[in-house]
């Protein structure tokens, strides 16, 4: 009996799921459209927020021009397309006082305290032309220093320009944030487009 149920009754019951599927798509057919007709309509901030553009760095909350990145290289090793390049900072040369302190520590048999290299990277470049936007770098970053940008209206004319210096970009964003003047300009431009 169990076999009969499994092979005959169940498929017939399962057919109901087909009707349910048709009902769902039918409902969606009647709902209003959600796409933005881009050149005719301006993309609102809600849609811009959910747009996943190229990868970019996130600044520290207190110092937006410096990335949260700790140069751990996780993103570089995990990127399947090999499009990120991170160069760590070298430790600064010890000052004479530090050198003396180090020598003293060595003589005394204590732990030598060398000056530490700053954690944030020296260089952080990214090649958008290779990126598959897989998000692996974003998911694997222990410092949560990467995100998708919403750089939607970005046009380049050569492949070279797709290689972005993310540190420079972060600095630009930081200055833009601190100076609100260009923002209003952009807004008025958007309003003009709408009109």
């Amino acid at each position: 009996m169990g076999k009969f149920r499994e092979n005959v009754i169940q498929p017939i019951l399962d057919c109901w799921s087909l009707i349910v599927g048709l009902k769902i798509t039918g409902k969606f057919f009647c709902k209003p459209l959600v796409t933005v007709h881009y050149p005719r309509q301006v993309i609102d901030s809600e849609n811009l927020r959910t747009y996943g553009g190229h990868v970019e760095l996130i600044g520290k909350p207190k110092d937006p021009a410096t990335p949260k990145c700790i140069s751990c290289m996780m993103c570089v090793t995990n990127c399947p397309s090999n499009c990120l390049k991170v160069v760590k900072q070298k430790a600064p040369k010890p000052t004479p006082e530090q050198e003396a302190a180090m020598a003293a520590a060595k003589e005394a048999g204590e732990k030598v305290v060398k000056p530490k290299a700053p954690k944030n990277p020296l260089k952080f470049t990214y090649d958008y032309s290779k990126c598959s936007l897989c998000g692996t770098c974003i998911d694997n970053c222990p410092a949560k220093a990467l995100q998708y940008s919403n750089n939607m209206y970005w046009v380049v004319t050569s492949r070279k320009e797709l290689e972005i210096d993310l540190l420079a970009r972060l600095k630009e964003q930081a200055t833009e944030l601190s100076a609100p003047a260009p923002k209003t300009e952009a807004k008025s431009a958007a309003a003009e487009k709408e009109a």
Binding site: P11, G21, L22, I24, T25, F28, F29, P32, L33, H37
Partner: protein, 324 residues
């Protein structure tokens, strides 16, 4: 000679009419399909060419014709070019015996039903020729799958059609339509609901429509049997597919939904036929954008384990009732 001419001229007119009807349908259906898909996914669909993208299929056609015709090296030229033509030409014939209205019948044929079924099998031949002559392994694999599918789904289709002709005692589509005259209760869908269901499913399989569109599985076989075809070679296959869809839906309307007869007595005409056919076509499009593609073994299981026994049972039951 005179009699010959008398028969020939209406036939040629009907053939030209069928051609126009086929091209027109292909344009309309491509547009409807894309719009329908768009709205189900809550996007506008084609929008840029003409108001609401209405000229898009026309432009697509021009684009398709403007492309280069290429033939792979070492492919058999005769068979390679024969295949799309062979898939297209029989479709024109298929429109002949379908009664679109009281006078709008291309050709009165006593064996109309048989003619449709016989010539629609040409598609299988065209598919296997296309796949074989392409000199491409995906083409051959796609053709093999397509043919095993078409052959499989033809059987339940035939059996359900046979049920109707058992009931009516004729293969003439005009007579079958005439028997359903009057109100909606006379339509054969009420007498043969099971046959209607089997026909509907087999129709999807026979026309290679989703969820049974394995013949052109672009994700597994790059495009199946028409991988190597470009330009109008592909265009003809494409048009033939839409042509078969229209034929099958028209046939379904004639067999089960009363043809050109309206639901209440007295109202009849080609618009009813058109409305019902397009209703069925929309169901097909709707299903395409709803159901995922089935796996090949599932496809064959649905046919051999379900459709075929059901159709056979239905046929035997009908025969028994008629005898009693």
């Amino acid at each position: 000679m005179n009699v010959f001419l008398q028969n020939l001229i209406p036939l040629i007119i009907a053939l030209i009419g069928a051609m126009i009807w086929l091209a027109f349908n292909a344009l309309i259906l491509v547009y409807c399909e894309r719009k329908f898909a768009g709205h189900i996914q809550r996007r506008p669909g084609p929008f840029e060419v003409g108001p609401h993208g209405i000229l898009q299929p026309l432009i697509d056609g021009v684009k398709l014709m403007g492309k280069q015709l290429v033939r792979p090296d070492n492919a058999d030229p005769v068979l390679y070019w024969l295949a799309p033509i062979l898939s297209m030409l029989p479709v024109l014939l298929l429109y002949m015996p379908i009664p679109y209205g009281p006078v709008l019948t291309g050709m009165e044929v006593n064996l109309g039903l048989l003619l449709i079924l016989a010539f629609s099998s040409f598609n299988g031949l065209a598919v296997i020729l296309a796949g074989w002559a392409s000199n491409n392994k995906w083409g051959v694999l796609g053709a093999a799958r397509a043919v095993s599918q078409t052959v499989a789904y033809e059987i339940p289709l035939l059996l359900t059609v046979l049920t109707i002709s058992f009931m009516t005692g004729t293969l003439n589509l005009t007579e079958i339509t005439a028997l359903q005259a009057g109100h909606i209760g006379h339509w054969f869908i009420w007498k043969q609901p099971l046959a209607f269901l089997v026909f509907l499913i087999a129709m999807f399989g026979e026309t290679n429509r989703a969820p049974f569109d394995l013949a052109e599985a672009e994700s597994e076989l790059t495009a199946g049997f028409h991988t190597e075809y470009s330009s109008m070679g592909f265009g003809l296959f494409f048009m033939a597919e839409y042509g078969y869809m229209v034929v099958m839906c028209s046939l379904c309307t004639v067999l089960f939904l009363g043809g050109f007869h309206g639901p209440i007595p007295g109202v009849e005409g080609w618009w009813w036929m058109l409305a019902k056919t397009y209703g069925l076509l929309f169901v097909m499009i709707w299903a395409r954008w709803t159901f995922p593609r089935v796996r090949f073994d599932q496809l064959l299981n649905i046919n051999w384990k379900w459709l075929l026994p059901l159709a056979t049972f239905n046929l035997l039951a009908t025969a028994l009732i008629i005898k009693l």
